[in-house]
């Protein structure tokens, strides 16, 4: 790891000012950044410690029923917040399906949005990677890419975004609050991560030195509380990134879907909101046929980026399953294996 300066600012403006120096990086829990520094992928010359900034670790309920989550709230604290888990159950389930208990206890909400791709070629400094070194090429394109993107990719980058948390956030119209040298602004979560196009190194919409200070879920996202699930296929039962995942949320009135939300994970460089699929479900009855049609819309533009055609079919199937499970209703208690297809095993809950 390279030598770096360590700055501990007292407030957000000091932090933003410090980060304006080139080569700076914000350090929250460091569960991703420090690993990347150890393997030489990330070599910041200044770390701006934001763990001690005041006011970033609160879960604040808005008068209208929405919620504002400070960027330094820990994944576990949010997932186990009773009101939050009740109101936004798919988000809580996604959080608990990610990483390990130890990592969730450390990792932060803001950091989750900032995590980098797990593409092996991004992490291997001897490989060409346009995301890591612009213009160097993409060794993943004809490499070991069975888990790479099947939508939204380009010849320049076929990486996926690894977050579980961001998938239901995209579905539920979450908003990211930023503060930077130019002041405060906010952007939809859906626009926060960028598709690679010709500039895969531009991973997010953040301007230089901008800091995520909070995340908001709007009150209207609570309407799905009774019918919301996150489902994740992975190659071991926990502590594994998704092969494909889906967040599905339905509002069902008198046997008819009035509003539907669907987003897919691990298939693109960003959480993949499927608006056409959502539109196809509005006004439909919650049937297998409707869900299958919707899933078809969600993957209509999918094409393999390599040895990964199976992910398209799997993504279609998991979208259908997530919609079925959402229609069946949010489980009364968090399942023992959050987001697992085997979470239906009765009699076991996540918290003993």
């Amino acid at each position: 790891m390279n030598r770096f300066d360590f700055i501990a600012p007292h407030n957000i403006s000091e932090a933003v000012a410090a980060a304006a120096e080139p080569g700076s990086a914000y350090l929250a829990a460091g569960t991703n950044l420090l690993d990347l520094m150890k393997i030489g992928v990330s070599r910041p010359v200044r770390l701006i410690d934001i763990t001690r900034l005041p006011g970033l670790d609160r879960i604040e309920w808005q008068p209208d029923g929405g919620v504002r989550i400070g960027a330094m709230v820990r994944n576990s604290d949010l997932a186990y917040d009773p009101r939050f888990a009740r109101t936004f159950p798919a988000v809580a389930e996604a959080l608990l399906s990610g990483a390990s208990a130890q990592l969730r206890n450390a990792a932060t909400i803001g950091g989750n949005l900032m995590q980098r791709t797990r593409c092996a070629y991004f992490q291997d400094t001897a490989s060409a990677c346009n995301r890591r070194v612009p213009g160097s090429g993409c060794d993943a394109l004809h490499g070991e890419n069975r888990l790479h993107a099947v939508v939204g990719w380009s010849e320049h980058c076929i990486a996926t975004h690894p977050s579980d948390f961001c998938v239901p956030l995209a579905a539920l119209d979450a908003v990211v609050e930023l503060e930077g040298p130019q002041g405060k602004r906010e952007i939809p979560l859906e626009d926060f991560h960028r598709l690679p196009g010709e500039t895969p190194e531009q991973e997010t919409a953040l301007a230089p030195a901008e800091l995520i200070v909070a995340l908001r879920l709007p009150a209207e996202a609570a309407r799905f509380a009774a019918n919301a699930r996150y489902l994740k296929l992975r190659e071991r039962t926990s502590y594994a990134f998704a092969v494909v995942s889906a967040a599905a949320a339905l509002e069902i009135n008198d046997g008819v879907i009035s509003h539907a939300r669907l987003a897919l994970g691990a298939i693109a460089a960003k959480p993949w909101r499927a608006r056409e699929a959502e539109a196809s479900l509005a006004g439909a009855e919650p049937t297998l046929e409707a869900f299958t049609r919707a899933a078809g819309f969600a993957l209509a533009d999918a094409r393999p980026s390599g040895d990964n055609a199976f992910k398209i079919e799997l993504a279609r199937r998991i979208a259908v399953r997530a919609l079925i499970l959402a229609a069946e209703g949010t489980p009364e208690v968090m399942p023992a294996l959050p987001a697992s297809p085997f979470s239906t095993t009765p009699g076991a809950s996540h918290v003993a």
């Binding site: 030598r3 390990s100 797990r118 291997d124 490499g143 039962t237 926990s238 199976f310 085997f342």
Partner: protein
């Protein structure tokens, strides 16, 4: 767990010992067990290897100046500056040592090969110094795939095993068969991934060196290090009280540790080297990939007419360790004709080595699936089929087994699992949630190697004992089981026996490998204890003041810290009394023990078992979950049922890992492993292992050694891999012949 013991041939009323908890358990859970890298002698430096990012070619330049300019860097060792060694690293080191990569030249033979060593005042400085070397290469096309490597006929497989076994006429057997099954199976390269990385803290004092390092073979390693450094073996001391897992990878000398020891000598300061996780994917061994073919001839009665098992096994371009996979077929099922054979393939990887049932695991994975396919082809239940082809004597040789309670394993395992009533066809069972359910089984088999070992048992004036052997506790519980064996030989409670182990200055405890440590070191301790008791008896029976005087011909028995006259229980004396009257502070018993060659010649010696698996599979999504594993194993005398059950669990868990998780993913364009970390190289986590049952089948083996102990460390992985793959077929109708089984294999 069964604690049932046979009524015959019992020792002290039972053939199974006491289920004592681990002697080192409290130390470990309170963090007071110090591992090699926990040592920090004064003035210690940190060494970090720089490793190659190409798999074949040579290093053309290293920016040594940039590295040396980095604050804290003390020295950079490259092929140009590496001090000489007394042994040519391109020559093998008998008995098991490989050619090693220690900067002898600029050649690169595999990705992650050490190409320089950076020594610095801090770990961070050494790490960054290594990163600053900016190596330039002259790269050749790497050969890491089955189609790339050079094929050859190996003179030996594994650690010197025969590459071929044959009896009967296989082609004739296949020709006359009612049907012939021919199937190909692939197993990937796997890496040991012990929790504790390879580490060494080396400190020289003149021409003596102290090495703190995890090590599975202390005496052998001392001799090897001595040869490399040109000093007498007794000048090398290895301390290895605890190992955070070995799995075979810590029994064999590797390059990075040699370099660190060399650096300590050159710089005259203690040096610590700890490999990073990624650096463990190269110079410290792995399980080589295999491409196996099985041909099975079957008659109309569901019996084998011939069995042909061939494995193409990968090794490195410069040394030979071939996964002896085909040998898994040579001792298990009855067949009038058998041919097991190996072909080598040279790949640009580090040299493979022994890993978790080397050969047996990968060979069993293929064989047990093939046998399941054969049973299906005959329309027979897989258990019935195996019983139908049961080997009463060793196939080929006809030698008797020293003991073989495999029938009992089949019967008890099937009963506990509830195998009866299993539908023959696949895709017949669903649970109430709609998941496909499948049941599969596999036979487990593992040989019983025995390594020469030595031990010392000292009876002390207070009637307690100190027993010593240079063994290794990798987590299996050796400290506990070995003390139990010694205590029994000494007629003491285990609490009265202090065990010293894990340092090379003690009597040679042999190798903690091949599942043979308890038997090998245990026999030595048993014999040393008996030697001490014999000396004590001599004292007592020749002492007119002793109640045992004159009992020499009748004999005495050692029990609960006293010697008893065999024919008169009322005449006895405590050890302490005997020693006190004789004016002795202690009595020292010693032993050098090995297996009786005549018994070994006359018998085939194996542990056996049967593993039954239940899986559930999501019919649409292909997600697989092992929901039950029941293993029944017969491995001779069981010293400590609690620890043995744990060993079986461990083996079965590694079986899950082999079947569903482990695989090194190699980019064949570069020869680099793309998942060299524990986030992406998957091993199971707790939630993957829902329910395990290990049944300890009683077995008395009078031939394997005087203590009747076989070995339990590795057998659990055999049988399990096939059982899971077979259960997946039974659930889904999909026969997967390439491990690990993946989602896309199931959804088609």
């Amino acid at each position: 767990m069964s604690l049932d013991a046979p009524s015959t041939n019992a020792r002290y009323g039972s053939n199974a010992g006491q289920p004592l908890t681990r002697r080192d358990g409290v130390l470990k859970v309170t963090g007071r067990a110090t591992y090699a890298a926990d040592n920090h002698p004064d003035g210690m430096l940190y060494a970090v290897t720089a490793v190659s990012r190409i798999a074949r070619g040579r290093v053309t330049s290293l920016d040594v100046e940039a590295t040396k300019a980095h604050p804290g860097v003390v020295e950079v060792m490259t092929p140009a500056s590496r001090p000489p060694l007394a042994h040519d690293p391109d020559e093998k080191m008998p008995p098991f040592g490989f050619r090693i990569e220690v900067l002898q030249d600029s050649t690169v033979r595999y990705a992650n090969q050490p190409i320089a060593l950076v020594i610095a005042e801090t770990l961070e400085a050494a790490t960054e110094g290594a990163a600053l070397l900016n190596p330039q290469y002259d790269a050749d096309e790497p050969r890491t795939g089955i189609d790339d490597g050079l094929r050859f006929d190996p003179p030996a497989v594994g650690v010197g095993g025969p590459p071929k076994a044959a009896f009967g006429d296989v082609e004739a057997g296949l020709a006359k068969a009612a049907q012939v099954l021919e199937r190909d199976y692939v197993t990937p390269a796997q890496y040991h991934n012990a929790m504790e990385p390879h580490a060494v803290v080396a400190e020289w004092d003149g021409d003596h060196v102290m090495l703190d390092m995890p090590n599975q073979a202390l005496a052998m390693s001392c001799a090897s290090y001595a040869t490399y450094f040109g000093i007498p073996p007794e000048n090398v001391t290895i301390r290895s009280p605890f190992l955070g897992g070995g799995f075979g990878s810590k029994a064999i000398i590797n390059g990075p540790q040699i370099l660190a020891i060399l650096a300590a000598r050159a710089l005259k300061r203690p040096v610590k080297l700890v490999l990073s996780r990624a650096q463990m994917y190269g110079p410290v061994g792995h399980r080589g990939g295999t491409w196996q073919k099985l041909r099975i001839g079957l008659n109309n009665d569901g019996q084998l007419t011939a069995l042909h098992h061939k494995s193409i096994s990968a090794t490195s371009s410069f040394d030979d360790f071939l996964e002896p996979a085909a040998n898994a077929s040579t001792h298990l099922y009855a067949s009038p004709a058998l041919l097991s054979e190996h072909e080598g393939i040279r790949l640009d990887t580090g040299t493979p080595g022994p890993m978790r049932a080397p050969g047996e695991a990968s060979g069993s994975a293929a064989l047990e699936v093939a046998i399941d396919e054969a049973a299906d082809a005959c329309g027979m239940d897989p258990l019935d089929f195996r019983l139908h082809n049961y080997a009463e004597t060793e196939p080929g040789s006809g030698r008797p087994f020293s003991s073989k309670a495999l029938r009992e394993c089949y019967a008890e395992g099937a009963k506990r699992f509830g195998w009866a009533g299993r539908p023959l066809a696949s895709r017949q069972m669903r649970d109430k949630n709609g998941f496909l359910v499948g049941w599969g089984m596999g036979t487990a088999l593992f040989p019983c190697p025995h390594f020469p070992a030595e031990a010392r048992a000292t009876l002390r004036a207070d009637g307690t004992a100190l027993v010593e052997t240079a063994g290794a506790d990798m987590g299996q519980g050796a400290w506990t089981a070995l003390a139990q064996i010694a205590a029994e030989a000494l007629g003491l409670d285990p609490e009265q026996v202090e065990l010293h182990s894990g340092i090379s200055t003690l009597p040679d405890g042999g190798i903690a490998g091949g599942s043979g440590h308890t038997a090998s070191a245990g026999l030595a301790l048993n014999n040393a204890g008996k030697d001490a008791i014999a000396q004590l008896s001599e004292l007592a029976t020749n002492d007119p003041a002793s109640p045992l005087f004159g009992a020499g011909n009748i004999g005495v028995e050692a029990r609960a810290g006293r010697l008893y006259r065999r024919d008169d229980e009322t005449r006895s004396e405590s050890y302490a009394e005997i020693l006190a009257r004789a004016g002795r502070r202690e009595i020292v018993g010693t032993a050098k023990a090995s297996r009786d060659p005549a018994a070994a010649e006359a018998h085939a010696m194996f542990s056996h078992g049967a593993v039954f698996a239940e899986v559930k599979v999501d019919p649409d999504l292909g997600q697989i979950r092992v929901t039950r594993l029941v293993g029944a194993f017969a491995a001779g005398r069981i010293i400590n049922p609690r620890l043995v059950e744990s060993q079986y669990f461990g083996g079965m868990i590694w079986g899950v890992s082999f079947a569903l998780h482990e695989e090194a993913i190699i980019d064949h364009r570069t020869g680099r492993i793309m998942n060299a970390d524990l986030a992406e190289y998957h091993v199971p986590i707790n939630a993957d292992i829902p329910s395990l049952e290990a049944i300890l089948i009683p077995e008395n083996d009078p031939f394997v050694n005087a203590i009747g102990v076989k070995g339990v460390g590795e057998i659990g992985i055999t049988g399990t891999v096939g059982a899971i793959a077979n259960a997946i077929w039974h659930a889904t109708g999909v026969r997967v012949r390439k491990f690990p089984v993946r989602l896309e294999d199931i959804i088609g």
